[in-house]
């Protein structure tokens, strides 16, 4: 069983949602980022999403755009991302790692070489924002040979027919984009989101994660009552940006970021207990 499937099964048995923090690889620099990622599991991260920085992140709002730029300016690259994952795997062989990014860096690296090196480094899944089902076979097929899940996105614009198409060849989990928009800029109406998740659950056995518009511990807690996983990116990345801007030393950037992640994780993990009691 893959790390992703194993982790969701384990959480399912414990009756709780997964907390998935997102950080951009190499933001603000390799060492600081490596230390943040290393500490995320003990803060309560059940899976970790690592952004592969790209010069033209069309689906991202200002926070993750800026994070990509910080990382690229600090010299991050695809081999650097794999190095980051290898380093994490030295101490942690259980927490699934999902890379999120755009297709061109994969294309330029060479698709077969990318999935081979990703697998060797310990990557478990890939989310490639600009590869919709119509185009993702070029990556999905070689990835599956290497045991890497290609996680597909479902959105508020996907109708039922489209959701069926998305779910059909998806693996690992489904990522529900809670808002029609770029990352970190809009908020969702909870009732709509819950309905969408219900529709999604009717057509897939895969775990369903929710991301793109969740910014606070309160929102995370509410979504965790009905979603299998909660992804938080922009809000975490903003913490890193603020710490960097105020010229905090690296140790403080790390402490600030993981402290925020712990608070989010605690909210996600407490969500269903409260729901039962309440």
């Amino acid at each position: 069983m893959s790390r992703i499937a194993g982790r969701f099964m384990e959480l399912g048995e414990r009756g709780r949602a997964a907390f998935i923090p997102f950080v951009t690889a190499g933001d603000p620099d390799f060492e600081t980022c490596a230390s943040i990622i290393e500490k995320l599991p003990e803060m309560g991260a059940d899976l970790i999403e690592i952004g592969v920085p790209f010069s033209d992140p069309m689906a991202d709002g200002p926070s993750i755009q800026a994070a990509s730029l910080r990382a690229l300016n600090a010299g991050m690259s695809v081999p650097g991302v794999f190095e980051l994952v290898r380093r994490f795997r030295r101490a942690d062989d259980a927490t699934p790692i999902v890379l999120m990014g755009y297709f061109n860096p994969i294309h330029a690296y060479g698709i077969d070489r990318f999935v081979t090196d990703a697998s060797a480094a310990g990557v478990d899944g890939l989310i490639t924002v600009d590869l919709p089902p119509e185009e993702d076979a070029v990556l999905r097929v070689p990835a599956s040979v290497k045991g890497i899940d290609v996680v597909r996105l479902a959105t508020p614009t996907s109708d039922e027919m489209r959701l069926r198409r998305i779910a059909k060849e998806a693996s690992g989990f489904l990522y529900y984009v809670s808002v029609a928009g770029v990352t970190g800029t809009k908020s969702f109406a909870e009732a709509d989101l819950q309905n969408s998740l219900r529709s999604l659950k009717r057509i897939t056995q895969l775990p369903c994660a929710v991301g793109f518009g969740i910014r606070t511990a309160e929102q995370a807690k509410n979504v965790a009552r009905f979603a299998d996983a909660v992804v938080i990116g922009s809000a975490i990345v903003q913490r890193i940006a603020a710490a960097v801007t105020s010229e905090m030393p690296s140790a403080s950037v790390i402490a600030e970021t993981i402290g925020f992640c712990k608070m989010l994780a605690d909210s996600v993990h407490a969500a269903r207990q409260i729901s039962v009691v309440g």
Partner: protein, 405 residues
Amino acid sequence: MTALTPNSYRSGPDERGHFGEYGGRFVAETLMPLVLELERAYSEAKHDTAFQAELNGLLKHYVGRPSALYFAERLTQHLGGAKIYLKREDLNHTGAHKINNCLGQILLARRMGKTRIIAETGAGQHGVATATVAARFGLPCVIYMGEVDIERQKPNVFRMHLLGAEVRSVTSGSRTLKDAMNEALRDWVANVHDTFYIIGSAAGPHPYPEMVRDFQCVIGNEARAQMIKAEGRLPDLVVACVGGGSNAIGMFHPFLDDRDVAIHGVEAAGEGTATERHAATLSKGAPGVLHGARSYLLQNGDGQVLEAHSISAGLDYPGVGPEHSWLKDNGRVSYYSATDTEALEAFGLLCKLEGIIPALEPSHAIAHVMRAAPKMAKDEIIVVTLSGRGDKDVFTVANALGASL
């Protein structure tokens, strides 16, 4: 005919929007349903005679088509070789070929019930054309334009304001056309319910490259008929400048199956293709994926998109329409480049010899004609697209020549 030569170069794209290995629909899932809806709507409109009749009426009475095919007698004499004809897209309403495509797309937007228009622009010609049709059809319009381009194309920014458009300055990345396109895509993804994105180049996800090409084919269709009328035969060489490649594909496509007609696209070489400051995507780039399609791309080894450079804001783009990539690889079209200096020289020559102030974009095509024509016989014929007029560029040219206005 070799086994690899297709029966027709005009049958693409396939149903998945691919021209060979190029093109496709590399967009976020949120946009996929819209892109599919657009494809259906366009395919219906394409075969709807009422839609075509309305478009043709506007092209005739609003744009002033057909545009002239003008024999550049003094330029021909000066260069001493092939006869040179200019396809005068600069005489169109709004001063460039961009309006052909904008009218087609806004009619489609209205047909689809969309109530808000967005567009990206580099030189500002597409922005002006979009603002123009938005005004004509009474729809609110937002134009994304890089901060750098706003600075060097001030006259066009003011024209867009006059036409009632909101111009949003884009400060991310290189602050030019590619970043304006990123920002327009972000707007589209956040306003899917009511917004129509009028892409100005033969780029973007399927069906844009096909649709923009079809709307721009009026250039080549007219030129082909006008040439037969004027000379009783087809030209020997067709030339156009290529940034994203919309005027070029519109001129080239009707000639693709005329095997005796040579076709040359001309990219911007900026300060030279041996330097890092150029926009010669087909000459110096490698296949990659940006803005919805697989095509040639200026990028580094890690797949990060590089900043392009050209004195002409309209050619300052690190990508190119996917059909051009396909036409390069199969050899039907040859792609060359011209530097900033060569384009400025061509600009000056056309002003002085023909009394025509060309835009800096087609000045690159003229620069190529200056190299090609003298090597050709006097009874041979070249047709070159003069894709726009140069009023918008006088500040840039003055700056480059060290003149103050």
